[in-house]
């Protein structure tokens, strides 16, 4: 029983980290029809910014804020310089964002050095709680909590604010949103920056979870985020949450019970969804 609960918590924590990365990606995909392969680069910059800030200031909260600000700045620059010129052209989007992903990865090595950096869990989140025979690792519980809180905040913005309403409408019909007097380019920029900030937050939380950060981790997690978006349905936030949890749990359980399949399980899940429900499990309806 303890084993199952531990695997469940591991899977949920990993799923939440993937969700933070996938949440921005799915909205950018759904609203802006932009295939952003550089999204993982924003994640890794968030991770390194947080590790650097934590080492410099000793404050985990400042480290998280620093990562989010890094994400916002990089998101703004990426949208303006990289994405805006290629709106509406998926081939160019793939090429330029893949290229930019490599630039972001290499720039990490220029700024922070070529070696991986150690990342520590802050003392107040280190250790674990014992509940009966079950050991609950504090930092993993913290990640799960943050994941649900972020999901709640995004849902609140999407469901209760005018900008959220326009984002939801834009996912369904961009042309009509503009014809009703809304500046869709501003909404694109807002969504992209918010997505980048979430990716950076994911990276910042991932760093102490994995213990080390390295430049190539953006590529690895970027691919997982794309798998989650495909499984959850493009443009669907609840779909991304469910798919991220599914991918996290599948990875956690397979790594224990069938280690040989632990890497392949995500691809198998995606292939099954593409065969039986190609629009994704929770696709936004137009």
């Amino acid at each position: 029983m303890e084993l199952l609960i531990n695997l469940l918590i591991n899977g949920l924590a990993t799923g939440m980290l993937i969700f933070l990365l996938a949440a921005g990606l799915t909205l950018i995909f759904g609203l802006m029809s932009v295939l952003n392969f550089a999204h993982g680069g924003l994640f890794v910059w968030g991770a390194f910014a947080a590790v650097w800030m934590y080492a410099t200031t000793g404050s985990f909260i400042l480290a998280i804020l620093g990562a989010v600000v890094t994400g916002v700045i990089l998101g703004f620059v990426t949208e303006k310089l990289i994405i805006t010129p290629v709106y509406g052209n998926h081939v160019q989007q793939i090429l330029i964002t893949l290229g930019f992903m490599l630039v972001l990865t290499e720039m990490i090595k220029v700024v922070f050095g070529p070696n991986q950096l150690a990342a520590k869990v802050p003392p107040y989140l280190a250790g674990s709680w014992e509940v009966g025979d079950v050991i609950l690792i504090k930092y993993r519980m913290f990640i799960i909590l943050i994941g649900f809180v972020v999901f709640g905040i995004i849902q609140f913005i999407l469901k209760r604010t005018k900008i959220g309403l326009i984002v939801r409408a834009g996912v369904l019909n961009k042309e009509m949103v503009q014809a009703l007097g809304n500046n869709i380019k501003q909404v694109f920029l807002f969504t992209f920056i918010a997505g980048a900030a979430l990716a950076a937050l994911g990276g910042a939380l991932m760093a102490p979870y994995s213990g080390v950060v390295y430049a190539e981790m953006g590529l690895e997690f970027g691919i997982l985020a794309f798998i989650v978006v495909v499984i959850g349905g493009m443009g669907s936030l609840p779909g991304s949450l469910m798919a991220a949890i599914l991918v996290g749990l599948a990875g956690s359980f397979m790594a224990y019970y069938v280690p040989a399949l632990s890497l392949a399980v995500n691809m198998i899940l995606m292939a099954l969804v593409l065969i039986f429900r190609p629009q994704g499990l929770f696709a936004a309806k137009g």
């Binding site: 005018k162 309403l165 326009i166 939801r168 409408a169 369904l172 019909n173 042309e175 009509m176 949103v177 503009q178 014809a179 009703l180 007097g181 809304n182 500046n183 869709i184 380019k185 936004a284 309806k285 137009g286």
Partner: protein, 235 residues
């Protein structure tokens, strides 16, 4: 009578195709101006060009005397144009209320009055206020699309084929609604259903192969069998 909208020798390309090849058109204030022509003549493209959804390559479009042909779509809408597309453009998973809210500029009293006005004009919308737009009938979607275009403080409504796919009894309601909206706004209507066009239209403009070929009072066209046969294939 002053013209609220004027198009002068407008040319529009979609990709490499030269769709509008010289459209001249005016919409007199307070009237219903109907754009008529065969399928593919360029009527819908004319409305999309006015809204900036298919920007013109050359020519000018004046709204209340101001050029709008270079403005982005949202600025054109904000200047006072409302658009009801052929497919109604309803946001299917948003409620009726949310569909209306997307179009609301602000929370002012004037906006609230306009919402009240459309809810009185289209009582079904009030009934289905919290239902998803995608669950409405074809006629209700048309009403919602017209209501949404109106609440954004539109002085000119561009309505594309409102009778398309609707039952005759529903078309009657649409005609009543257009008569009522005309009291508040000027209307440009694209319509294939000539009977409906003749019932609501004050003036007509015939478009053929992307060019304006005739314009005049609707009564003139109703009486002119040869023109109807030549350009509309009826009569």
């Amino acid at each position: 009578m002053t013209d609220l909208l004027e198009m002068r020798d407008v040319h529009t390309y979609i990709g490499e195709y030269h769709i509008l090849q010289g459209v001249n058109f005016t919409a007199p204030k307070g009237q219903v101006s109907v754009l008529l022509g065969r399928n593919g003549a360029g009527k819908t493209t004319t409305l999309k060009t006015i809204m900036g959804l298919h920007p013109s390559k050359s020519g000018s479009i004046l709204f209340e005397g101001n050029p709008i042909e270079k403005l982005p779509t949202h600025k054109i809408a904000q200047s006072g144009l409302g658009y009801v597309p052929e497919d109604q453009g309803i946001f299917a998973t948003l409620t009726v209320e949310e569909n209306i809210r997307v179009a609301m500029r602000d929370q002012s009293e004037a906006t609230a009055e306009r919402v009240d006005y459309v809810l009185k004009l289209f009582p079904d919308l009030k009934k289905f206020w919290k239902k998803d737009g995608g669950n409405l009938s074809g006629g209700q979607k048309q009403m919602l699309s017209m209501a949404r275009a109106f609440v954004q403080d539109s002085r000119l409504l561009l309505i594309d084929e409102p009778s398309k796919g609707l039952a005759p009894v529903v078309i009657g309601k649409v005609i009543e609604a257009i008569h009522e909206l005309k009291k508040q706004s000027t209307i440009v209507l694209v319509e294939q259903n000539f009977r409906m066009a003749s019932l609501v239209g004050d003036t007509f403009t015939l478009i053929d192969d992307g060019r304006t070929v005739h314009t005049g009072e609707m009564g003139y066209l109703v009486e002119n069998e040869e023109m109807k046969r030549k350009y509309l294939g009826i009569g």
